[in-house]
């Protein structure tokens, strides 16, 4: 699998990471190398094989929905860049 500059550009957009032209070129080369190794998976016949999503077979794990007091709101908000009256302030969303 050859990773083209177009694929790298699209991937960077989807992953919301600003990459310089140089970083994009490096990444294209590195991903092509890694995918060359990964491509051995394509040789495996899996027509009748079910995928593994998880290994515990647990599903629908319920717990009681209990409301508890929480006293560390300041701690939760401390990581945000700008806070106004317990709201996180972000840049304008709609143009």
């Amino acid at each position: 699998m050859q990773i083209t500059p177009e694929i790298i550009k699209r991937t960077a957009e989807l992953s919301r990471i600003a990459l310089t032209a140089g970083e994009q070129a490096n990444l294209g080369r590195e991903l092509t190398g890694i995918l060359n190794h990964i491509d051995e998976l394509q040789q495996v016949n899996t027509k009748t094989v079910e995928p593994t999503n998880q290994v515990t077979n647990l599903n629908n794990m319920y717990r009681d929905d209990i409301v508890k007091p929480y006293d560390n709101v300041a701690g939760l908000l401390a990581g945000a860049h700008e806070v106004v009256e317990n709201y996180i302030k972000v840049k304008q969303v709609l143009p």
């Binding site: 990773i3 694929i7 790298i8 699209r10 991937t11 960077a12 989807l14 992953s15 919301r16 990471i17 600003a18 990459l19 970083e23 990444l27 590195e30 991903l31 190398g33 890694i34 995918l35 190794h37 990964i38 491509d39 051995e40 998976l41 394509q42 495996v44 899996t46 094989v49 079910e50 995928p51 593994t52 999503n53 998880q54 290994v55 515990t56 647990l58 794990m61 717990r63 560390n72 701690g75 939760l76 401390a78 990581g79 945000a80 860049h81 996180i88 972000v90 840049k91 304008q92 969303v93």
Partner: protein, 506 residues
């Protein structure tokens, strides 16, 4: 080691405060050379130690009361920085404490501080941390392995009695092998991951680095169990039959020991002359098998026909899950924020560009690609199916044997910088460890007994006194890996104990 220290504490030969001060002094003496700790919780440790002394005085001590430990910097402790070795989180103060950590603190164990790791736990050398590289306890010119290199060096240097860490594809077992300590990756779902920075959620587990298998058993017992805050933790199961213990009930690992001599060990034929394995590692492994056979352990050849696909499968699944997990770092609620951003879009793209290191970006890009429209079936879904084949290999093998013996790593510790330019060669460090994560089964790495291997504490004493020097003509250590079926940690730990006793380590 924990049991011996516990005896000294309850016999009042030493107080928990004195013990904690000894370990803190060791850290102060050796950390400038080895950089294993990135944060010391000194005041907190001394307060906990004083509390532990009160518990001991009341006669209520458990095995872990007053025992000084360390944890990888991806475990949250309320009010401290949890960086995960990353620029993204280097100023992130945890608003809460991880369940695993709380369980240890509740028993009166003493947290000394947090240990270094690869950026976002992505790496096998602990060189990509925002705090700079950690050095191998046996020779500071070598890497300690990774991503839990700080925890491995801390235990090897006896800067802590034991250390918590995480293992997604070998991040506990590979540094254990390269640093000459014991590393346990428990069954997936055994220990709560609440309060731990996520890498790949279908693979990540909490585990330990310890001096020996007996200590791993004690800490595993303390950490195991279902947590309402982590829906992937295994619940206790009703007993299979009246009078028979439930398979999922947390076992008394520290006291119950399977008779190791009754275990049958499987030797995968695929690993006998595995490509890329150093000849002297191969020879040391053969010696270990001979040692166990001579002691009366039965061995049997088994086959793991899909194991060679482990790395390829892993490097589709991990980047895919990581690209999804790391989407949360958007500069909004916590983590690095790009102040120069002019628009909302730029807050995302610049914060992520500045906060993530090279390997993290590489894996996010790879995972975004393998999950993207048009490629998802060929990569992600195909990898999930091959994952099933790898699991079935183990299921068949464990119908015949109790434990599988494999190499832990292809080679001994390598020099700092030796693999930094070639991501694939770094990935191949985990060739023998990733399959356990893909299958969800437990794995234990113990040091191989060999003549002419360096001793970490000797080298640390030298390094503390003078300039760091490798011991002349001696080799750094290497490990052997034992793999068990789901929830069968007891067999691994019993075998580990048995091997350590045979080789006079314990």
């Amino acid at each position: 080691m924990i049991k011996e220290l516990h005896q000294k504490l309850i016999n009042k030969e030493i107080s928990a405060v004195e013990l904690t001060k000894q370990y803190l002094k060791k850290i102060h003496d050796t950390n400038p050379t080895y950089n294993s700790f990135v944060l010391l919780t000194e005041d907190f440790a001394l307060k906990q130690a004083a509390d532990a002394d009160a518990i001991i005085k009341r006669g209520e001590a458990t095995l872990l009361t007053g025992i000084p430990f360390a944890m990888k910097d991806n475990f949250c402790l309320q009010g401290t920085i949890t960086s995960a070795g990353s620029t993204m989180l280097k100023n992130y103060t945890s608003p809460y404490t991880a369940t695993a950590v709380q369980k240890l603190l509740d028993q009166g164990a003493v947290l000394l501080g947090k240990t270094n790791m690869d950026d976002a736990a992505m790496g096998s050398s602990t060189e990509t941390s925002v705090y700079g590289p950690t050095k191998n306890a046996h020779n500071p010119n070598l890497v300690p392995g990774g991503s839990s290199g700080g925890s491995a060096t801390a235990v090897a240097l006896q800067q802590a009695v034991f250390a918590l860490a995480t293992d997604t594809g070998g991040s506990i077992r590979q540094p254990a092998a390269l640093s000459g300590v014991v590393g346990l990756k428990p069954t997936y779902g055994r220990i709560s991951r609440y309060g731990i920075v996520a890498l790949a959620s279908s693979l990540d587990v909490v585990g330990t680095l310890t001096h020996n298998s007996a200590d791993a058993a004690i800490v595993l017992e303390a950490l195991s169990g279902q947590d309402p805050h982590d829906s992937t933790t295994l619940p206790p199961e009703p007993a299979a039959a009246p009078g028979r213990p439930s398979k999922r009930t947390a076992r008394k690992y520290s006291t119950a020991a399977t008779a190791a001599k009754n275990l049958t060990i499987g030797i995968p034929v695929e690993y006998k002359n595995a490509k890329g394995m150093a000849p002297d590692v191969q020879a040391a492994l053969k010696q270990a098998i001979t040692t166990l056979k001579t002691a009366g352990i039965k061995t049997k050849n088994i086959t793991l026909p899909h194991a060679h696909l482990g790395i390829a499968t892993y490097y589709v699944i991990v980047p895919s899950e990581a690209s999804s997990n790391l989407a949360r770092y958007d500069g909004m609620r916590f983590g690095h924020y790009a102040k120069e951003a002019r628009t909302l879009e730029e807050v995302y793209t610049l914060s992520r560009a500045q906060g993530f290191g090279r390997e993290v970006k590489r894996r996010i890009a790879l995972g975004t690609f393998t999950l993207s429209a048009g490629y998802q079936d060929a990569y992600y879904h195909q990898a999930q199916k091959v994952r099933t084949l790898i699991r079935e290999d183990f299921r068949r093998a464990f119908a015949e044997v109790d434990v599988i013996l494999t190499p832990a790593t292809p080679d001994r510790a390598f020099p700092l910088g030796a693999k930094s330019a070639d991501p694939l060669s770094m990935y191949l460090q985990d060739i023998f460890t990733v399959t356990a994560n893909l299958a969800g089964i437990p794995g234990l790495v113990v040091p191989l007994a060999e003549p002419g291997v360096t001793s970490a504490t000797d080298s640390a004493a030298t390094a503390a006194a003078t300039a760091p020097t490798a011991e002349q003509g001696k080799k750094p250590p290497i490990g052997v890996q034992f793999l068990g079926d789901m929830m069968q940690e007891e067999k691994l730990l019993s075998l580990g104990n048995f091997y350590e006793a045979l080789t006079a380590r314990g």
